[in-house]
Protein backbone atom coordinates (compact mmCIF):
# COMPACT_ATOMS: atom_id res chain seq x y z
CA UNK A 1 0.00 0.00 0.00
CA UNK A 2 3.02 2.28 -0.22
CA UNK A 3 1.73 3.43 -3.61
CA UNK A 4 -1.39 4.80 -1.91
CA UNK A 5 0.83 6.80 0.43
CA UNK A 6 2.87 8.19 -2.46
CA UNK A 7 -0.27 9.02 -4.47
CA UNK A 8 -1.80 10.82 -1.48
CA UNK A 9 1.42 12.73 -0.87
CA UNK A 10 1.59 13.78 -4.52
CA UNK A 11 -2.04 14.94 -4.47
CA UNK A 12 -1.40 16.88 -1.26
CA UNK A 13 1.75 18.55 -2.59
CA UNK A 14 0.22 19.68 -5.88
CA UNK A 15 -3.02 20.82 -4.26
CA UNK A 16 -1.21 22.71 -1.48
CA UNK A 17 0.87 24.55 -4.09
CA UNK A 18 -2.26 25.48 -6.05
CA UNK A 19 -4.08 26.55 -2.87
CA UNK A 20 -1.19 28.78 -1.80
CA UNK A 21 -0.48 30.49 -5.10
CA UNK A 22 -3.69 30.44 -7.13
CA UNK A 23 -5.10 33.87 -7.90
CA UNK A 24 -8.74 32.72 -7.80
CA UNK A 25 -10.14 32.16 -4.33
CA UNK A 26 -12.61 29.45 -5.27
CA UNK A 27 -9.85 27.49 -6.99
CA UNK A 28 -7.75 27.88 -3.84
CA UNK A 29 -10.61 26.58 -1.69
CA UNK A 30 -11.12 23.56 -3.92
CA UNK A 31 -7.39 22.87 -3.97
CA UNK A 32 -7.30 23.12 -0.17
CA UNK A 33 -10.07 20.53 0.01
CA UNK A 34 -8.14 18.20 -2.31
CA UNK A 35 -4.99 18.73 -0.22
CA UNK A 36 -6.90 17.82 2.94
CA UNK A 37 -8.30 14.72 1.25
CA UNK A 38 -4.73 13.77 0.36
CA UNK A 39 -3.60 14.33 3.94
CA UNK A 40 -6.41 12.06 5.11
CA UNK A 41 -5.15 9.43 2.67
CA UNK A 42 -1.67 9.75 4.19
CA UNK A 43 -3.09 9.27 7.67
CA UNK A 44 -5.09 6.28 6.48
CA UNK A 45 -1.96 4.73 4.97
CA UNK A 46 -0.13 5.22 8.26
CA UNK A 47 -2.87 3.45 10.24
CA UNK A 48 -4.48 6.56 11.75
CA UNK A 49 -8.06 5.86 10.71
CA UNK A 50 -9.74 8.14 13.24
CA UNK A 51 -7.47 11.06 12.41
CA UNK A 52 -8.12 10.53 8.70
CA UNK A 53 -11.88 10.61 9.19
CA UNK A 54 -11.65 13.72 11.38
CA UNK A 55 -9.43 15.36 8.76
CA UNK A 56 -11.92 14.63 5.98
CA UNK A 57 -14.86 15.93 8.01
CA UNK A 58 -13.02 19.12 9.00
CA UNK A 59 -11.78 19.64 5.43
CA UNK A 60 -15.25 19.32 3.94
CA UNK A 61 -16.82 21.63 6.52
CA UNK A 62 -14.00 24.15 6.05
CA UNK A 63 -14.40 24.07 2.28
CA UNK A 64 -18.15 24.66 2.57
CA UNK A 65 -17.57 27.51 5.06
CA UNK A 66 -14.92 29.10 2.83
CA UNK A 67 -17.22 28.91 -0.21
CA UNK A 68 -19.92 30.66 1.87
CA UNK A 69 -17.25 33.17 2.90
CA UNK A 70 -16.34 33.87 -0.73
CA UNK A 71 -20.01 34.17 -1.71
CA UNK A 72 -21.03 36.43 1.18
CA UNK A 73 -18.07 38.78 1.29
CA UNK A 74 -17.18 38.79 -2.40
CA UNK A 75 -14.43 36.95 -4.19
CA UNK A 76 -11.21 38.88 -4.69
CA UNK A 77 -8.64 37.98 -7.28
CA UNK A 78 -5.00 38.18 -6.32
CA UNK A 79 -3.20 40.28 -8.89
CA UNK A 80 0.35 40.71 -7.72
CA UNK A 81 3.29 41.44 -9.97
CA UNK A 82 5.91 38.74 -10.19
CA UNK A 83 8.41 40.92 -8.35
CA UNK A 84 6.28 40.64 -5.19
CA UNK A 85 6.65 36.87 -5.26
CA UNK A 86 10.13 37.25 -3.81
CA UNK A 87 9.11 37.77 -0.19
CA UNK A 88 6.68 34.80 -0.03
CA UNK A 89 9.16 32.51 -1.75
CA UNK A 90 11.97 33.66 0.55
CA UNK A 91 9.73 33.20 3.61
CA UNK A 92 8.74 29.69 2.60
CA UNK A 93 12.32 28.76 1.72
CA UNK A 94 13.54 30.13 5.07
CA UNK A 95 11.01 28.04 6.99
CA UNK A 96 11.96 24.98 4.95
CA UNK A 97 15.66 25.59 5.63
CA UNK A 98 15.07 26.05 9.37
CA UNK A 99 13.01 22.85 9.58
CA UNK A 100 15.61 20.87 7.61
CA UNK A 101 18.45 22.19 9.78
CA UNK A 102 16.43 21.26 12.86
CA UNK A 103 15.79 17.78 11.45
CA UNK A 104 19.47 17.28 10.61
CA UNK A 105 20.84 18.59 13.91
CA UNK A 106 19.80 15.44 15.78
CA UNK A 107 22.91 13.47 14.86
CA UNK A 108 23.04 10.20 12.94
CA UNK A 109 19.51 9.30 14.01
CA UNK A 110 18.21 12.29 12.14
CA UNK A 111 18.91 10.55 8.84
CA UNK A 112 15.65 8.66 9.44
CA UNK A 113 13.87 11.94 8.72
CA UNK A 114 14.86 11.50 5.09
CA UNK A 115 14.19 7.79 4.72
CA UNK A 116 10.95 6.00 4.01
CA UNK A 117 12.05 2.91 5.96
CA UNK A 118 10.04 3.30 9.20
CA UNK A 119 7.11 4.72 7.27
CA UNK A 120 7.09 1.84 4.80
CA UNK A 121 7.29 -0.62 7.70
CA UNK A 122 4.40 1.12 9.43
CA UNK A 123 2.36 1.05 6.23
CA UNK A 124 3.08 -2.66 5.72
CA UNK A 125 2.43 -3.59 9.37
CA UNK A 126 0.19 -1.02 11.06
CA UNK A 127 1.01 -0.94 14.79
CA UNK A 128 -1.65 -2.07 17.20
CA UNK A 129 -3.12 0.14 19.92
CA UNK A 130 -4.19 2.91 17.56
CA UNK A 131 -7.83 1.97 17.21
CA UNK A 132 -10.39 4.65 17.95
CA UNK A 133 -11.37 3.07 21.26
CA UNK A 134 -7.74 3.03 22.45
CA UNK A 135 -7.29 6.64 21.42
CA UNK A 136 -10.47 7.54 23.27
CA UNK A 137 -9.26 5.87 26.47
CA UNK A 138 -5.91 7.66 26.18
CA UNK A 139 -7.65 10.97 25.54
CA UNK A 140 -9.81 10.81 28.65
CA UNK A 141 -7.08 9.13 30.70
CA UNK A 142 -3.60 10.48 30.09
CA UNK A 143 -4.58 13.69 28.31
CA UNK A 144 -7.72 14.79 30.11
CA UNK A 145 -6.32 18.24 30.97
CA UNK A 146 -5.35 18.83 27.32
CA UNK A 147 -8.85 17.86 26.27
CA UNK A 148 -10.42 20.21 28.81
CA UNK A 149 -8.17 23.11 27.75
CA UNK A 150 -9.03 22.43 24.12
CA UNK A 151 -12.74 22.45 24.89
CA UNK A 152 -12.31 25.72 26.79
CA UNK A 153 -10.43 27.23 23.81
CA UNK A 154 -13.21 26.23 21.42
CA UNK A 155 -15.86 27.57 23.78
CA UNK A 156 -14.07 30.92 24.15
CA UNK A 157 -13.60 31.06 20.37
CA UNK A 158 -17.33 30.68 19.82
CA UNK A 159 -18.11 33.33 22.45
CA UNK A 160 -15.47 35.67 21.03
CA UNK A 161 -16.76 35.16 17.50
CA UNK A 162 -20.22 36.19 18.60
CA UNK A 163 -18.93 39.24 20.44
CA UNK A 164 -16.61 40.46 17.69
CA UNK A 165 -18.98 40.03 14.78
CA UNK A 166 -22.05 41.62 16.39
CA UNK A 167 -23.25 44.97 15.01
CA UNK A 168 -22.55 48.09 17.07
CA UNK A 169 -25.35 49.47 19.26
CA UNK A 170 -26.59 52.74 17.82
CA UNK A 171 -26.81 55.67 20.25
CA UNK A 172 -30.33 57.16 20.45
CA UNK A 173 -30.99 60.84 21.17
CA UNK A 174 -32.01 59.87 24.72
CA UNK A 175 -28.55 58.51 25.26
CA UNK A 176 -29.30 54.81 25.50
CA UNK A 177 -28.51 52.17 22.94
CA UNK A 178 -31.31 50.98 20.69
Amino acid sequence: MIWALIASATLTLISAAVASFSSAERRSITALWFASIGVGGIYLSLGAEMLAIVQWIVATLSAVAFHFFASLFGEERESRPRSQLLVPVLGGASLLAILLIGALSGGPESISAFSLGPIAESVANPPSGQRAVDLGYRLIGDHLVSLEILGLCLFISILGAGVISRPDAVETPEGGPS
Binding site: A19, S20, F21, V39, L51, F73, E76, V89, G92, L99
Partner: protein
Protein backbone atom coordinates in the same frame (compact mmCIF):
# COMPACT_ATOMS: atom_id res chain seq x y z
CA UNK B 1 8.24 12.15 4.97
CA UNK B 2 9.43 14.77 7.47
CA UNK B 3 10.85 16.67 4.51
CA UNK B 4 7.46 16.38 2.82
CA UNK B 5 5.79 17.85 5.93
CA UNK B 6 8.35 20.67 5.96
CA UNK B 7 7.64 21.42 2.28
CA UNK B 8 3.89 21.56 2.96
CA UNK B 9 4.50 23.92 5.89
CA UNK B 10 6.75 26.12 3.76
CA UNK B 11 4.09 26.25 1.04
CA UNK B 12 1.57 27.35 3.66
CA UNK B 13 3.80 30.12 4.96
CA UNK B 14 4.48 31.29 1.41
CA UNK B 15 0.72 31.36 0.82
CA UNK B 16 0.17 33.45 3.96
CA UNK B 17 2.78 35.94 2.79
CA UNK B 18 1.59 35.95 -0.82
CA UNK B 19 -2.15 36.44 -0.41
CA UNK B 20 -3.74 39.81 0.24
CA UNK B 21 -7.30 38.76 1.01
CA UNK B 22 -8.32 37.45 4.42
CA UNK B 23 -9.64 34.25 2.89
CA UNK B 24 -6.34 33.67 1.08
CA UNK B 25 -4.36 34.13 4.28
CA UNK B 26 -6.76 31.76 6.04
CA UNK B 27 -6.19 29.14 3.34
CA UNK B 28 -2.43 29.53 3.70
CA UNK B 29 -2.73 29.09 7.47
CA UNK B 30 -4.72 25.89 6.94
CA UNK B 31 -1.94 24.53 4.71
CA UNK B 32 0.59 25.50 7.39
CA UNK B 33 -1.40 23.61 10.03
CA UNK B 34 -1.61 20.69 7.63
CA UNK B 35 2.18 20.50 7.48
CA UNK B 36 2.37 20.61 11.27
CA UNK B 37 -0.08 17.73 11.72
CA UNK B 38 1.70 15.64 9.08
CA UNK B 39 4.99 16.25 10.90
CA UNK B 40 3.40 15.15 14.19
CA UNK B 41 1.98 11.94 12.75
CA UNK B 42 5.10 11.02 10.78
CA UNK B 43 7.35 11.84 13.73
CA UNK B 44 5.21 9.64 15.95
CA UNK B 45 5.44 6.74 13.50
CA UNK B 46 9.22 7.11 13.22
CA UNK B 47 9.63 7.35 17.00
CA UNK B 48 7.33 4.40 17.68
CA UNK B 49 4.77 6.53 19.55
CA UNK B 50 2.03 6.56 16.97
CA UNK B 51 -0.96 6.78 19.30
CA UNK B 52 0.42 9.77 21.19
CA UNK B 53 1.21 11.54 17.93
CA UNK B 54 -2.28 10.86 16.60
CA UNK B 55 -3.79 12.42 19.70
CA UNK B 56 -1.69 15.55 19.46
CA UNK B 57 -2.43 15.81 15.74
CA UNK B 58 -6.12 15.55 16.62
CA UNK B 59 -5.74 18.40 19.11
CA UNK B 60 -3.89 20.42 16.45
CA UNK B 61 -6.74 19.91 13.99
CA UNK B 62 -9.19 21.19 16.63
CA UNK B 63 -7.01 24.24 17.29
CA UNK B 64 -6.97 24.84 13.52
CA UNK B 65 -10.78 24.85 13.54
CA UNK B 66 -10.74 27.32 16.43
CA UNK B 67 -8.34 29.59 14.58
CA UNK B 68 -10.51 29.48 11.47
CA UNK B 69 -13.57 30.40 13.52
CA UNK B 70 -11.80 33.38 15.08
CA UNK B 71 -10.55 34.61 11.70
CA UNK B 72 -14.03 34.18 10.22
CA UNK B 73 -15.58 36.36 12.91
CA UNK B 74 -12.91 39.05 12.53
CA UNK B 75 -13.56 39.04 8.78
CA UNK B 76 -17.30 39.45 9.38
CA UNK B 77 -16.57 42.40 11.69
CA UNK B 78 -14.26 44.06 9.17
CA UNK B 79 -16.82 43.58 6.41
CA UNK B 80 -19.47 45.17 8.63
CA UNK B 81 -17.24 48.18 9.27
CA UNK B 82 -15.57 48.72 5.89
CA UNK B 83 -17.85 47.00 3.38
CA UNK B 84 -14.93 44.95 2.04
CA UNK B 85 -12.29 42.63 3.39
CA UNK B 86 -8.62 43.26 2.68
CA UNK B 87 -5.67 42.47 4.88
CA UNK B 88 -4.75 46.18 4.73
CA UNK B 89 -8.04 46.98 6.49
CA UNK B 90 -7.17 44.91 9.53
CA UNK B 91 -5.85 47.87 11.50
CA UNK B 92 -8.67 48.34 13.95
CA UNK B 93 -11.99 46.71 14.78
CA UNK B 94 -13.53 50.02 15.85
CA UNK B 95 -15.22 52.61 13.70
Amino acid sequence: MMVFAAVIGALGLAGVLYKRSVLGVLIGAQVLFMGATIALVVGGVQAGAGAQAHLFALLTVCVCVSQGLAAYSVAARVFYLKGRIRMDDLRTLRR
